[in-house]
Every structure is written in C-alpha cells, then in structure tokens.
Symmetry: C2
Subunit: 222 residues, 2 copies
C-alpha cells in the first residue's frame, strides 16, 4: 500500500500529481506548513528528515523527489507512459537530464532566494537595510545570472519540444513543474521572453490528473 505524506504548497505536490497520473490506489495525508514555513514536527514521526514528500511503501518511508519518481515509475508505470524507453536515446537523455537538473541546479538557487527573503523579513528594523544589501549582493552575484541562464535553457527546450523529454509528456515535466512555478513567483516571468515555458505551465495545469491532484492536495502558489 502506498501512503503519501504531502506538505501543502510544497515540492511534494509532484508526487501527488504523479500518483494521479499513474491511477494507482494510495492513501493521502496532508500537512500544513508551520509559522516558520517548514514542515510540521508531526512529519518527523514518519521520517527523521521531517521533509516532504515522504512516501510510505508497505510501511517503509522513502524520501527524495527524484528517487520517489524513479521508484514509482519502475514499479507502477507498467505501460512505460511517463518515462522514455532506454532505446529512445534522445528522449531518455532529455528525461534524465531534466529530472536531475530540476532539483540539483534550479531548486537550490530558488531555495537560496527564499532563505534570503526570510532573513530580510526577520531582521530587526535597524539592521534591515544591511540585510537587504546582503540579499541584493547574493541575488546579483549568485542567483540572478545563473537562474536566467537556466531559464533560457528551459525556454529553448520547450521552443523545440512540446514537453521536457520531447513530444511525449513524462515525469520530467512533473519534476520541473515546481522550479518553474517558483521562478514564476512574485512579478512573474516575462511573458514574451518565456512564452513557451508559460504555455507549458498551462498545458501541465490542463491535465486531468493535475486537476485531481490540486483538488486533493491544494494548488502551488509561492
């Protein structure tokens, strides 16, 4: 039996969405973020990391989005609908690249941006101008330039392909959904420069499984 522990408005939305795409039976428990915007302590009982997603598989708790996706596809995607076959080289490469890139390259920058935003918000009024200046320095030297280059790579991929792994929707799209939504937060991505990326977001949101996931676990809005 599969049991997903889902933190609302977090990366774990992806696993909920994938479970809906797979049309498998699963139990769902939803958690709300605490005041520090983190997973609540109750998740610690499920896995010591106290992060979401946690997927219980026959009472064994597994974590790490990329691994959970690969695990679910190996055991439940019997018709190979959501991962390109090994002999479809170009699609296999794209799938594997974006699956890793989402969490290893894009998300760390976006999380760092979030941490600096929280640092500024928590700073006492007197030192806030200094913490703002530090945030600006890191944003300009580490985050903005790298993120722009990554977004350009994403936009190019979707200019040439309907989905991240090529012509077919795959779990790489599910994995990429969170960083793209996070990068589109606040003022939002430029509608002309990232037209293909924003159209892809719409295509994701139109899927029946996506809508069922949203209805059960809430939408993502950073």
């Amino acid at each position: 039996m599969l049991h997903l522990h889902h933190l609302k408005n977090s990366r774990s939305f992806r696993i909920l969405w994938l479970l809906e795409e797979l049309e498998v039976d699963y139990k769902l428990t939803c958690y709300e973020r605490n005041k520090a915007y983190l997973a609540p302590e109750s998740l610690k009982k499920i896995h010591p990391l106290c992060h979401a997603p946690v997927l219980e598989v026959d009472n064994r708790a597994i974590v790490e989005s990329g691994f959970i996706i690969e695990y679910l596809l190996k055991h439940y995607d019997t018709e190979k609908q959501f991962k390109p076959a090994d002999d479809n080289e170009a699609a296999w490469e794209a799938y594997t690249f974006w699956l890793h890139f989402a969490e290893a390259s894009v998300m760390p920058l976006l999380v760092m941006r979030l941490v600096f935003t929280k640092v500024v918000a928590k700073s006492p009024m007197l030192i806030r101008p200094i913490s703002r200046a530090i945030r600006r320095q890191v944003e300009n030297s580490v985050i903005k330039g790298n993120l722009t280059k990554m977004l350009t790579m994403m936009e190019q991929q979707l200019q040439d392909n309907h989905w991240f792994a090529g012509e077919a929707f795959s779990a790489a799209d599910i994995q990429m959904y969170v960083p793209v939504v996070a990068a589109n937060a606040g003022k939002g991505l430029d509608k002309v420069k990232y037209a293909n990326l924003l159209n892809w977001l719409n295509r994701c949101q139109e899927r029946a499984a996506f809508k069922r996931a949203e209805a059960k676990g809430g939408s993502l809005h950073f």
Copy 2:
C-alpha cells in the same frame, strides 16, 4: 570521443574519477577557479552555464553531474560494474536514492554555507558583525540541523553496508564523495560519531582509479 572539462577542486572531480573507473579513452582539459572561486569565463565557450563538469560527447556539451553519470554508465559501463541491475531491488533503490540525494539535498545546504561564508568575508569591517549574525542565524535555523540529520542517515547506511549501494562499489559512491568531503571541511567530522563515513572516505581514496584521477586533475580540498 569524450572530452571532460574539469574545474580543479570542484564537483567535476567525480566525472574524472568515473572516467578512470570505466577505463575509457577521453581528453581532459583542466581549469582553475577564478578569484571569485567560480569557473573561469573560458568555460562559457564550452557551455553557456559556465559550470563544471562539462562533458563533450562527439562535440556536443552535456552538463549536470547526475545526468552525466547516468549517461556514461548507460553507454560505457558495458559490464554493469558501477550501477546495480534493475532486478537487484535493494541495491538499485540505494543507488538511485543516493545519486539524487547527494546533489538535491546535501549539496544545496553546503553551497548555502559556502555562500554565507563568502558574504561574511566580503563584508566591509563595520558591518561584518551583522553579516556574521545573519550567517549564524541561517546556519542554526536552516543548515546545521538538516545537515546533521543527513549525515546521520549516511553514517547509518555505511554502518550496515560497505558502500552506499550495498556490498558493491557504485557510481553512487562517486556522487556522494563531494558532499562528504565538503561536510568534512574545516574542523572535520567527529571521528567517533562518523567513523563509518570517514572509513568509507578512506576506502574511496584507496581505489586505483581515484588515485589516477587525483594525479590528473588534482585533489579535492574544500
């Protein structure tokens, strides 16, 4: 023809090491970090992200450590020496988990720690106490607790297993090498609490392929 663009003292050491384990022919170009501790601009000609590693495969540049590892294993690990077979479920799960966990969960915390260290070092003397206080706040609220939980998971895995994927060395060990070296930087990990992890580091460093990689691309010392 494979051509590795290796930034000395960086994550790209792993790909160099894997190429040596695979005993394939490849060309190697080494780069030094610039004064800002980043990859030099000359890497931008190879790939727009200007990050290392970059592997050129027949003049096509591929990036992202986890993807490069999977690509090399698919095409060059013909005897399946460095990745557990699909039907070896426990080892396959461990391999896949640690391959993702290294870059998606551990490294982002260590990179954030590095960024805050640089922020403090670059701060003008007058505001340095404030940037130190901010670093301390993030270290205590975001980095230290999470990293300790992750190191505990690693230590437990190596208490029960010789290598990260079980009894056989695999590319998951190569992928995990960088975050463990980075976590061991500075004062170093507690020699009693992390005895198995530190013994595993030694076992990695004793491998012939590791020594050849070090001789060609320099050692890792954060």
